[in-house]
């Protein structure tokens, strides 16, 4: 399997004004290549959720997208911390560390990570105080 397209993005710390820009570009890229809409939908949902997590819970980070020759899309979200203290809980639907205020605004329903896991075909997450790396893949029906 060889990489046919590689893209890199940066999410700056607390740059809420740019929230969603990376996922928009990912979405547009896949749309112009002409991916299957069903796969595109899953990728759009997962990339948006992960990008926003990076903004809300971490100090920004780096995002890469690799499209393989068989149509597989792999996204890597790598942030420099502070890490997820209890990964097992974070993967439980409904569990959230968001404040009451954030919840009132509609954030932090605790569905973030479980949702990403649900829509992706492969899911891996590594976290320590030095940062979190989330790797998700999607197999494309071409």
């Amino acid at each position: 399997m060889a990489v046919v397209l590689h893209k890199e993005y940066k999410v700056l710390r607390d740059d809420y004004g740019s929230a969603g820009k990376v996922s928009s570009d990912i979405k547009q890229t896949l749309n112009s290549i002409g991916f299957d809409p069903k796969v595109m939908r899953r990728i759009a949902v997962a990339s948006y959720e992960s990008e926003i997590n990076m903004l809300i819970h971490a100090f920004g980070g780096d995002i890469t997208m690799d499209i393989m020759d068989d149509g597989t899309v792999t996204l890597v979200f790598k942030d420099p911390g502070p890490g997820i203290p209890d990964l097992e809980k974070a993967l439980t639907p409904g569990w959230s560390t968001a404040s009451e205020k954030a919840r009132a605004m509609g954030f932090g329903a605790g569905m973030g990570l479980p949702n990403i896991q649900r829509v992706s075909d492969a899911f891996d997450i590594q976290s320590s105080e030095a940062g979190t790396t989330l790797t998700i893949s999607f197999r494309a029906a071409q």
Binding site: K27, T29, N31, S32, I33, G34, P37, A44, V45, A140
Partner: protein, 384 residues
């Protein structure tokens, strides 16, 4: 050049002082026509000459035009004036529009997990087919009101040579007819541009009155502030705002809504480019045109209401690899371009220029900015 810049889908380009429109990209939104300060771009409709080709002629009048009348008497005058253009029958479409709305609501209210998108605007349907393919399956299969109305008229006068003319308030609706653009799949025969026929209508005013009775719910559909409101419906107007809503829908952020009513024109169809009045004033007219009675909508067979045509898209014949490699090559060319999106080369953006370079239609030397930078460098070398 303003038209090239105004295009939301990068369909326009310029070469040798001519404007070229890529029909695969164009969504008929009409923003180029609006932006043109030289009146060089026009969306033309059929002419009244075409009335002669039919034994019996019918004119369809959209709610957006009716909303230009500030009271029932003005509307009666308007319908009479339109009939004097040579039509045997002038049909108000508000009843059909109301049925179209009812059907959309029935579908939206009977689901708990789907977010449907209203289908009444051809620009939205084309925009989604172009840029928001993820959402295409959620466009309601409810046909355009002009099509539903035309099918009913065709049945009513079966066996006769009936010409159905749709009076259009915007550029996009001119496409929803057999002529002048040759879209033979439509039931409407001719699309008339309101701006073309309005002078003739004006001359016929104040010469009589035809009876009218509008279905207010249908009339309300042409405006986002008047259309039926519900907490599970999201109603948005204005091109950029509509795009923002579609982006959110693709990210799965609007799952709490059952129906999205989207109007690319500000203030809805009342803000149609071929209408002249202030769209806020027209909005109030909708209330004045109501006779206060709530009407049941007419019975229309399902076959005449539903269509699956919105789901049709042109198949890309290139393989996945070809498409991806094309995209990668475009990105490589884009790196070499200055990224000013100045349009001096005739292309709207550097990305479109990069695409044209990869396709072999343009050369990197055609970039005016790079050219200027090279010249400057040469000048500097000479002075050194």
């Amino acid at each position: 050049m303003k038209c090239v810049k105004a295009c939301p889908t990068s369909a326009l380009s310029m070469a040798d002082n001519r404007v070229y429109i890529d029909s695969a990209r164009c969504i008929n939104c009409g923003r180029c026509v609006q932006a043109c300060h030289n009146r060089g771009l026009l969306a033309q409709g059929s002419t009244l000459e075409d009335l002669k080709n039919y034994e019996y002629t019918v004119c369809l009048v959209p709610g957006a035009l009716i909303s230009h009348c500030s009271n029932i008497e003005e509307a009666q005058d308007l319908f009479h004036a339109i009939r004097l253009l040579g039509f045997d029958e002038v049909v108000d479409m508000t009843d059909v529009t109301a049925r179209q709305l009812q059907e959309a609501q029935l579908m939206a209210d009977s689901t708990n997990d789907v977010t449907y998108i209203s289908s009444f605007c051809p620009v939205i349907n084309r925009l989604i087919a172009n840029r928001y393919k993820v959402l295409q399956e959620f466009i309601l299969p409810v046909n355009y009101d002009s099509e539903i109305a035309a099918r009913l008229i065709r049945k009513k006068h079966a066996g006769r040579n009936v010409g159905i003319f749709n009076l259009c308030e915007c550029e996009a609706k001119l496409e929803l007819a057999k002529f002048p653009y040759g879209n033979m799949e439509y039931e409407v025969d001719h699309a008339l541009a309101l701006v073309d026929v309005f002078p003739a209508i004006r001359k016929n005013m104040k010469q009589g009155k035809d009876p009218v009775s509008f279905n207010v719910r249908g009339l309300q559909v042409c405006n986002p502030a008047r259309i039926v409101q519900k907490d599970t419906y999201l109603i948005a107007d204005g091109f950029d705002k509509v795009c923002a809503v579609l982006d959110m829908a693709e990210f799965g952020l609007l799952n709490q809504f059952r129906l999205l009513f989207l109007y690319p024109c500000f203030n809805g169809c009342i803000g149609g480019h071929m209408l002249w009045g202030n769209s806020f004033l027209m909005t109030n007219n909708i209330d004045a045109l109501s006779d206060g009675k709530r009407r049941d909508v007419s019975y229309i067979p399902f076959d005449d209401i539903y269509t699956e045509d919105f789901l049709r898209t042109d198949e890309d014949t290139r393989s996945f690899m070809e498409r991806t490699i094309f995209f990668r090559n475009v990105n490589e060319q884009l790196e070499k371009l200055p990224g000013y999106d100045c349009s001096a080369c005739g292309m709207q953006t550097c990305r479109i220029m990069a695409e044209e370079i990869v396709k072999g239609n343009k050369k990197i030397e055609d970039c005016r900015v790079l050219h200027a930078l090279r010249e400057k460098k040469n000048d500097n070398q000479r002075t050194d």
